[in-house]
């Protein structure tokens, strides 16, 4: 431990003494770790033959290598991700992500919030796609309540509309940050500009740009506002032209392709072994999308394609996300046509507060409203696991309920938390500059990694 500190902070002993070191969590010297840990750190995740292991062991010459720190405050680490890299010259030999800088104990907090308040908590985890977090929490609660089949059609289709628009805004954010990380800084401006237009629609519908608390157990918080259809149509009309511009700006550019093609390669078996989902798994050519393979909401009623790559590199992950925006727009177009009339939340007095208008005239409605918002509603004993496809992969919620109005245990399977495990594998043998491209192509959201 001390040797690592000596190495990383050579010459600045006061830094080592500042109490910020996390000891064993850091990347360790090779002589201090077991062979198993070394192999994992070097990106070996599948069973290897003896010759392959021997070839890896041959590279162990510690006098030429150096362990350096990247982050947690680094412009390209998407928040507070810290990577420790072992370098030989400019080549990355080992990598270890050190996380937890944004840990705020949201799963613990979730145990003291009622099921009514829970959405405000989970929506802050993956802040780039908050509506998907709310959706998975609401669906798990509904499964425990046994009302998952009784959600009104309009609420389900509103959820689908918002979920897909959120996928578009999240992927636009990816295009922006990916562009910035690679050096196409103008892309950052364009990506944020288009994302803002989607967020403006969210603000009209939910009242907030982010952290909406809009999808709640039982339905959604409010009906769509007047004129929503025109707003969405405007978006659908404006976006294709912008996407075509991105293609000109990036996809065809030799510099862009040089920076991404063949960088951060992962194979299908490795991605599956590391439990990676979402664009990372799809970039390896494995066609897996929960919207199609285990449909929820009404995804079996709409037509869309699952985009897959073929090389498993950063360029594939970029193209997948770009084209998923187009597929999401296709779905949104179908949602517009299919949007049914009716209630936007379930009329189950146990779960649904009375309409605002009745509170002024009825004492019982006022008491009912007060009860639901202070005590919450009781959820039957049981446990449920529900998974949906978020822009980053499978996001799932596991709730164990003891029959009270707060979850006994609320766990969120965060796709980014699992997906950053692929980084050591993807970075191995690449250059430091490519490490930035790899981080960017995994597209982690640190709020979700640390929760």
């Amino acid at each position: 431990m001390t040797t690592t500190e000596d190495m990383t902070n050579s010459g600045s002993t006061e830094v080592a003494a500042a109490g910020t070191s996390e000891g064993r969590q850091e990347l360790q010297l090779r002589k201090d770790i077991s062979n198993k840990e070394f192999l994992r750190g070097s990106g070996a995740v599948l069973r290897m033959s003896e010759s392959e292991v021997a070839a890896l062991a041959d590279t162990q010459s510690e006098d030429q290598t150096m362990i350096i720190n990247m982050g947690p405050q680094h412009p390209s680490t998407h928040g507070v991700l810290r990577l420790m890299l072992e370098l030989n010259g400019e080549t990355v030999l080992r990598c270890k992500p050190v996380i937890g800088y944004l840990h705020t104990g949201m799963e613990k907090t979730g145990e003291s919030l009622t099921f009514m308040q829970g959405a405000t908590n989970v929506t802050r985890m993956d802040y780039a796609s908050p509506l998907n977090n709310e959706l998975v929490f609401a669906m798990t609660t509904e499964k425990l309540l046994g009302i998952d089949q009784d959600i009104p059609e309009r609420a389900v289709w509103i959820r689908m509309l918002l979920s897909e628009l959120n996928r578009i805004s999240s992927h636009l954010l990816f295009l922006a940050t990916n562009g910035m990380d690679i050096g196409a800084v103008s892309m950052m401006l364009y990506g944020f500009r288009e994302r803002e237009e989607v967020l403006r629609f969210f603000q009209k519908v939910t009242g907030l740009r982010m952290n909406h608390n809009f999808i709640r157990p039982g339905g959604v918080a409010a009906d769509l506002p007047a004129g929503w259809r025109d707003e969405v149509l405007n978006l659908l009309e404006a976006l294709p032209k912008r996407l075509a511009e991105y293609e000109i700006l990036m996809t065809g550019q030799p510099i862009w392709r040089e920076r991404l093609q063949g960088v951060g390669v992962i194979t299908r078996d490795e991605a599956i072994a590391l439990s990676a989902t979402g664009p990372i798994l799809r970039s390896t050519g494995f066609s897996w999308d929960l919207r199609r393979d285990m449909p929820y909401l009404r995804y079996d009623k709409v037509e869309f394609d699952v985009i897959v790559g073929s090389y498993g590199d950063a360029f594939d992950r970029y193209s997948i996300r770009l084209n998923e925006i187009r597929e999401s727009m296709r779905i949104v177009g179908q949602v517009l046509d299919a949007m049914p009339q009716g209630d936007y939340r379930i009329q189950d007095k146990k779960v649904t507060p009375p309409p605002r208008g009745r509170i002024d005239e009825s004492m019982e409605a006022l008491i009912h409203h007060f009860k639901i918002f202070t005590e919450g509603f009781k959820v039957p004993e049981g446990e449920a696991y529900v998974a949906i496809e978020s822009p980053r992969g499978e996001i799932a919620c596991y709730i164990a309920s003891d029959g009270s109005s707060t979850p006994y245990r609320m766990h969120v399977r965060a796709p980014s938390f699992i997906n950053i495990q692929t980084m050591p594998l993807m970075m191995r043998g690449g250059l430091v500059a490519d490490a930035v491209a790899v981080i960017s192509s995994v597209d982690p959201v640190l709020g979700e990694v640390d929760r």
Binding site: Q25, S34, K36, T109, S275, Y385, A400, R413
Partner: protein
């Protein structure tokens, strides 16, 4: 909970701690390629919990429960394993050799619940600082709070 018609019930299996690795290996051969989630629950204040009536008499319920969700990509189905872990012997075999993707999840469970995974390559705290005392998601670990100060308010 009453069964709602038309809903497919989750495939939940209770696995003894000693059979855990064998079960994982069998399920992997059966086509569950991915360990999609691994977490734990501390049933300290709710020891009764919900269990299927057919296994009710056969398993001894313990304080901790490790919950493993496996996914079969080829058959499009899921299975959930629930493993009882006694407080006095909070150790379980690591699933790392079968599912390397559980590396971070097991570290998180160790960090949050203090359950050890034998055979794990690098079992250290992952979210909390290295020198942290206690395991936050245990039920006897109180959620912390910072006292809020208001000027002139009676304390």
């Amino acid at each position: 909970m009453a069964q709602i018609s038309g809903r497919v019930a989750d495939d939940v299996r209770f696995v003894a701690k000693d059979d855990y690795l064998k079960t994982l290996s069998d399920l992997r051969t059966e086509g569950f390629e991915m360990c999609v989630d691994l977490t734990a629950v501390d049933y300290l204040t709710h020891p009764g919990r919900t269990i299927a009536p057919e296994v009710a008499g056969q398993i001894s319920l313990e304080r901790f429960e490790v919950v493993v969700n496996l996914l079969s990509l080829s058959q499009r189905r899921r299975v959930r394993l629930r493993v009882q872990i006694a407080e006095s012997d909070a150790v379980i075999d690591s699933a790392f050799d079968f599912y390397p993707g559980t590396e971070a999840m097991e570290r998180e469970v160790f960090d949050m619940f203090g359950i050890k995974f034998s055979g794990h390559p690098d079992l250290t705290r992952i979210l909390m600082p290295e020198d942290w005392q206690g395991h936050p998601l245990r039920k006897d670990y109180a959620p912390g709070s910072i006292p809020v100060q208001f000027k002139g308010a009676a304390s």
